[in-house]
């Protein structure tokens, strides 16, 4: 919706939207060339639905981090289903409601996904580009490296003695955020967004998920981040570890599900 004029252009030329519960009253999913799904799988009903969508489309695009990797909603996996039901919904009559899955999963755990567009939310230009490429039969441009490659900030080795909270001090407009002691996840996060957060002076939260190098080789992301921060701040690694480990939410905020990463190989846009 935020694509503005580009949306009008795309609707008038190559696409006809035939099914969309948000905009169209059709209740049954028809057979389509291209299906775009948002959101992850939390209930048996979601699972049935995603299998139905897969069976009825030629190309399946997973849109947004919940659908591609699990996203914020998969943080719900922290609490067990049993515990949640006991604490909050002891009165619930589950025969009337869709049964819940044991965990929250991204859609690729159940069906084959042709293209993954992660982001929370994905940038409109990424979506438009991907759709146009698919229609013209071209492979969409894949973004394989990290957010730092799209960030204008200069990486310089600084001399700091500790890390800083996001709002503890004013942000230098030119300098790399990590060099200033902020925990920016740009060096661990897939590019393609245009780095709007670090450009505006905010740390990257990792909403595009890991880049190719982090997904398919068994690299320890925590250790990698510690090394990145150490090299850009001269803070001893042990001090960084201590600070990072103290906070359970620094990291993995956006990737906390049992995501079947091997299936996503070369399909993440």
């Amino acid at each position: 919706m935020n694509a503005g004029e580009a949306l009008l252009e795309i609707l008038s030329s190559d696409f006809e939207i035939v099914y969309s519960p948000t905009f169209i009253d059709l209740k049954e999913i028809p057979n389509v060339d291209l299906a775009i799904v948002e959101g992850g799988v939390r209930t048996k009903e979601d699972e049935r639905l995603i299998r139905e969508v897969r069976a009825k489309c030629r190309t399946l695009v997973a849109l947004g981090l919940c659908a591609t990797h699990g996203g914020i909603t998969s943080l719900g996996n922290i609490i067990s289903l049993k515990n949640l039901m006991e604490k909050e919904y002891s009165l619930i009559d589950t025969t009337k409601l869709p049964e819940l899955e044991d965990l929250m999963y991204p859609v690729c755990n159940f069906v084959d996904v042709d293209y993954y567009i992660p982001g929370c939310p994905p940038m409109p230009f990424l979506i438009i580009h991907t759709l146009k490429s698919i229609v013209s039969g071209k492979q969409p441009l894949r973004h394989q490296t990290v957010v730092c490659t799209e960030c204008h900030r200069k990486i310089v080795p600084a001399k700091l003695d500790r890390l800083y909270g996001i709002y503890e001090k004013a942000v230098d407009p030119e300098l790399c955020l990590v060099s200033q002691g902020f925990v920016c996840l740009g060096s661990l996060t897939r590019e393609g967004c245009g780095a709007p957060c670090p450009r505006a002076g905010f740390t990257c939260f990792g909403c595009r998920g890991p880049p190719d190098s982090m997904m398919y080789r068994s690299r320890d992301m925590y250790a990698f981040l510690v090394k990145v921060i150490a090299s850009r701040t001269s803070i001893p690694e042990d001090t960084i570890k201590e600070e990072l480990y103290r906070n359970p939410f620094v990291f993995h905020t956006f990737i906390f599900s049992s995501f079947e990463r091997a299936k996503a190989r070369e399909r993440v846009i």
């Binding site: 905009f23 609490i79 619930i92 409601l97 996001i166």
Partner: protein
């Protein structure tokens, strides 16, 4: 056709998903109606232990649609714990961002979700009844809808630094001052948006009249109403939460700090969405509604010219308090007018580009509440922070959760109005959907969940499925 159950699923043209079941008695008249939410996420649990700095960013992910309103409530809750009062400039920028949120959401709901119901005859083929068909017939309307929504998104992008899940609003203020050039650009867009909204209001009122006779008795359950108010004038960003009864008498004026003590939630066996009500009145007397109509009912005036005129016209025509559910669609247009006028008014002042947008905060522990008017009504976040500045407890009071029981009652009322002797007329189910759609329910927020669905099934009185419509 006796002893049936009608289920509407998925409920279309709403944000998120839901399901409605209507139970018919043996003579085919409506015995009961239920509005379901069918999933859960558990935000209250997984956010525990999160440091306050990061909280607004993660909590906005409850819902992309109203992310700005959630961030605003979240930051205000944290500021109340820190006992921080931000600057006038920051308050103005925040109010402008909230107007951006209202414009962004309401233009989507008014044009893309509800307009098709008024544009086409009620019996229209359901495959045609959508915005894309309207765009084919009238491309100019499509362009205006997109331009209006883009204006909301531009405000969020320029001041918030991202169109969805804005970054710049933090405890203590707004990170970056607005530049003079940016203000001028936004003001130009505001003038254009103003012209579009004036037109939308005229068109909307005319179309509304066509359906009014059919809907004035469908879902006019009388409840309490609640909204933020500032000396009797509508306000989204600050003021007191005023509660009025079905006769329009003021029941209480609550400051944000007291608000959470006055609302209580209960659960039911058949939905994952909780029900909120006024504690002092108990259940079910304390059923209360929030949202566009509540804002008209609670407030005497609006501080902007056109919105005020429209509000008085609304009150004269439909009474105050007004009860019919479908009036939400009308009142939402007045909200939209107010938001565009208010945004323009804020942008007209040089004061907006002052650079004092931030004060230093001193983290403290304790309990705090933040309240704002989100597009769907009064939204409150309550946090308890521990000595390390981490979240210890979290309570959210979400508009759809407050409206939950009223939605159920009004769906039942509307079903009773439309269904007689088990006869299903063409367009009937859409009429019932129009009642839930008018609330623009956001079930994601109400259950902090993803992906619920609305479907219509017809069951016999032993619960066996007969048909899915």
């Amino acid at each position: 056709m006796t002893g049936k159950e009608i289920t509407i699923s998925p409920n279309t043209r709403i944000e998120g998903h839901g399901k409605v079941t209507i139970i018919l008695d043996d003579s085919g008249n409506v015995a009961d109606a239920l509005f379901y939410a069918t999933e859960i996420r558990g935000f209250e649990y997984f956010l525990k232990g999160m440091e306050a700095d990061r909280l607004p960013f993660i909590i906005s992910r409850i819902c992309g649609v109203c992310s700005t309103a959630h961030i605003m409530a979240s930051v205000e809750a944290i500021e109340s714990i820190y006992e921080t009062e931000t600057t006038e400039t920051a308050k103005k920028l925040r109010e402008l961002l909230l107007m951006g949120q209202i414009i962004n959401n309401h233009s989507l709901v008014c044009y893309f979700l509800t307009l098709p119901d008024f544009w086409f005859p009620l019996e229209e083929d359901s495959s045609k009844r959508n915005i894309f068909q309207i765009m084919r017939e009238r491309p100019d309307i499509g362009r205006k809808a997109i331009a209006l929504r883009s204006f909301g998104a531009r405000i969020l992008d320029v001041i918030g630094k991202r169109e969805v899940h804005i970054l710049s609003v933090i405890p203590g203020g707004v990170v970056y001052p607005l530049k003079g050039r940016e203000r001028e650009e936004l003001l130009k867009e505001a003038e254009n948006a103003y012209a579009i909204t004036i037109e939308a209001l005229e068109m909307g009122k005319e179309l509304f009249e066509k359906n009014w006779a059919d809907f004035k008795k469908a879902g006019d359950y009388r409840t309490h109403y609640m909204a933020l108010t500032k000396s009797g004038a509508m306000d989204f960003y600050s003021g007191k939460v005023r509660v009025i009864n079905a006769e329009g008498e003021i029941v209480s004026d609550l400051g944000p700090a007291d608000y959470m003590d006055h609302v209580e939630e209960k659960i039911s066996s058949w939905t994952y969405a909780k029900f909120a009500y006024l504690k002092s009145l108990g259940w079910p007397q304390g059923i209360v509604q929030v949202g566009p109509t509540a804002r008209m009912n609670v407030n005497r005036k609006a501080t902007t010219e056109v919105a005020d005129r429209e509000m008085q016209e609304f009150k004269n025509k439909y009474g105050s308090p007004a009860h019919a559910t479908i009036l939400l669609d009308y009142a939402r247009l007045i909200d939209l007018m107010y938001a565009v006028e208010k945004a323009r008014e804020l942008l007209q002042s040089d004061e907006l580009t002052r650079t004092d947008t931030r004060v230093k905060v001193e983290p403290k522990s304790g309990k705090g509440v933040g309240v704002v008017e989100a597009p769907r009504g009064t939204l409150a976040h309550e946090y308890v922070l521990d000595n390390n500045g981490r979240l210890e407890q979290l309570k959210l009071m979400i508009p759809t959760q407050i409206n939950n029981q009223a939605i159920n009652l009004n769906v039942k009322d509307a079903a009773t109005e439309f269904i007689h002797n088990g006869e299903i007329k063409p367009g009937l189910l859409n009429r019932i959907e129009m009642i839930t759609r008018a609330y623009d329910p956001c079930i994601k927020c109400a259950t902090r969940q993803t992906g619920e669905r609305l479907r219509v099934e017809i069951k016999d009185n032993r619960g066996r499925l007969v048909t899915v419509l």
